[in-house]
Amino acid sequence: MSKSGATLFDKVWDSHVVRKIADGPDVLFIDRHFIHEVTSPVAFLGLEGRHLSVLFPEKTFATADHNTPTINQHLPVQDPLSANQLKALEVNAAKYGISHWGLGNPKNGIVHVVGPENGITLPGMTIVCGDSHTSTHGAFGAIAFGIGTSEVEMVLSSQCIMQPKPKKMRINVDGKLGRGITPKDVVLYIISKLTAAGATGYFVEFAGEVFEKMSMEGRMTVCNMSIEMGARGGMIAPDETTFSYIKGREKAPKGAEWDKKLAYWKTLPTEQGATFDKEYHFSGADIEPMITYGTNPGMGIGITQHIPLAAGAGGSKSSYEKSLGYMGFHENDAMLGKKVDYVFVGSCTNGRIEDFRAFASIVKDRHVAPGVTAWIVPGSHIVEQQIKDEGILDILVAAGFQLRQPGCSACLAMNDDKIPAGKYAVSTSNRNFEGRQGPGARTLLASPLVAAAAAVTGVVTDPRTLLAE
């Protein structure tokens, strides 16, 4: 079934086109639809207004995550507006027969963490959700991207959306990564090279030795942030790493069904000789631990570097100065040694078990630095349980940290986890926009290792200096 020279992206996209509209979008069939409390209520209201129903309720999955509290989840949610949204999700899911993992459900967690860990996300699928980091699921060789609320309504009522087919980009990273270099550093490095708008209009395939050797969790971190270079989504060809991650998960295919799907999945990777509208090549050996210094994810540098001069940073001087002004930084400042007030480990970018293992590897036998407030937030209850089972919780507690309950938390600060105005947070999340983590908050995006090094020293620190030999 595979055309010669076809890309992974073409194969998945083309097999989902229900109808092509001349000089218009494709009508694309959607295999999996995730919904959460924030971007779905108005879509359900829209259905009601038009007297429509949900066409395939079994293809939609609901979880509460964006504004759930991360402490005392057993108590009623205090904020009446948040409580109202959570209630609306519960009521709508029940009304239309959609599976719903609300607060208190052992499967509850961030939508992009629970999809993969329960085997809902599979290679070759089209997956959408009213959240831009839906690109995470591309790690499995799926076409996955974020949509707006009108599109949520479309998918509920017709299981389709209408999208023009994006252009194709391939980003190759070859060679080996140095010690202490994580998938987060790889993706922050790529974004710093392409800029925050460098892949707008494209769907990206990540390829090369670095991604082939990467774990599924690492691949999810990378694909998660493809939106931060403007891409519609990112994807990585499914391989043995993918298949062994999926096998045995609750909703994954079993028995003969598994064999059939597996045979199909093996036909998906991009063929030799395929062409892309744009292609980049980077070397893994060039990548340092990364950190951002500005107010978009493209404003990142190696942790030992100095903040670039406006002239060398691209974009307009006034926008650059506005950004540094917000951060309270100056051109040519060193990042190492900058004071850190808060550390946030979590989100759908870095809220999986490997991220907490990495964090623990540095804080073990050390102690949280005076003046640092750390929020350690697992991506799901399953991750929370793994943290406990693997003894990571004991390491955290001994080092003076507390584990909070799962949810999006300070990634977008819709609940009470807000970084105060003017304070600096090293965060493993995905956006450093002005006010993203609370009005006036200043965010430095980085890996869990960089977050750990900041947490135990109170300043921006190269994690390689703290790693055990």
Partner: protein, 198 residues
């Protein structure tokens, strides 16, 4: 949700020459808690527009009465970041029907078209001309002509054409949306679903 039809819009414009305006600035996350699509315009650009004590920030363009109109002109890469359609709702609810920039983030562009805001992408040079014309005269009228796919600075006569696909143009001029279209092809979708392996 139905929206007004779009044909030719002639209006003064509000200039915002800032690059990478992201959706967290257009509408901060803490205002996304509504379960209805109402009142988002009040919080458009909330943290750029108001101080922490809710007094207006004097130097922000939306608080400057000399700039008015139904067209918002933004810097490069407008609407990056989150998929929240609330950003487009806030712009619409505030009273804008058209956003002009030299580059739009994908999801924002889609969301805008879906709710009846026309995103007009112009060249960097033309964007600059618009900013300079408004700087010289804040009452400068822009004409956005959807049928002809042109944007004109009335005072100088400078104009440029912009792109939009035929399907979306048809929708906007008639006030239709994608849901209407998809409902009309339901049996085709069901047949397709029957062959799906997932």
């Amino acid at each position: 949700m139905a929206y007004d039809k779009f044909s030719v819009l002639t209006s003064s414009a509000v200039p915002m020459p800032i690059e990478n305006v992201d959706t967290d600035q257009i509408i901060p996350a803490r205002f996304l808690k509504a379960t209805e699509r109402k009142g988002f315009g009040d919080n458009l650009f909330r943290d750029w527009r108001f101080n922490a004590d809710n007094t207006p920030k004097r130097d922000f363009v939306l608080n400057n009465p000399i700039y008015t109109g139904k067209i918002l002109v933004g810097g490069r890469n407008f609407g990056s970041g989150s998929s929240r359609e609330h950003a487009a709702w806030a712009i619409y609810d505030y009273g804008f029907r058209c956003v002009v920039s030299s580059f739009f983030a994908d999801i924002f562009k889609n969301n805008s078209l879906n709710i009846g805001i026309l995103p007009v992408q112009v060249s960097e040079a033309f964007l600059d001309k618009i900013f300079r014309a408004i700087e010289a005269d804040p009452a400068t009228q822009l004409e956005v002509n959807l049928p002809a796919q042109t944007i004109t600075i009335k005072t100088t006569g400078d104009h440029e054409s912009f792109e939009i696909n035929t399907y979306k143009k048809h929708n906007l001029t008639n006030g239709f949306d994608d849901i209407d279209y998809l409902q009309a092809m339901k049996s085709e979708i069901k047949e397709f679903a029957g062959k799906s392996i997932y």
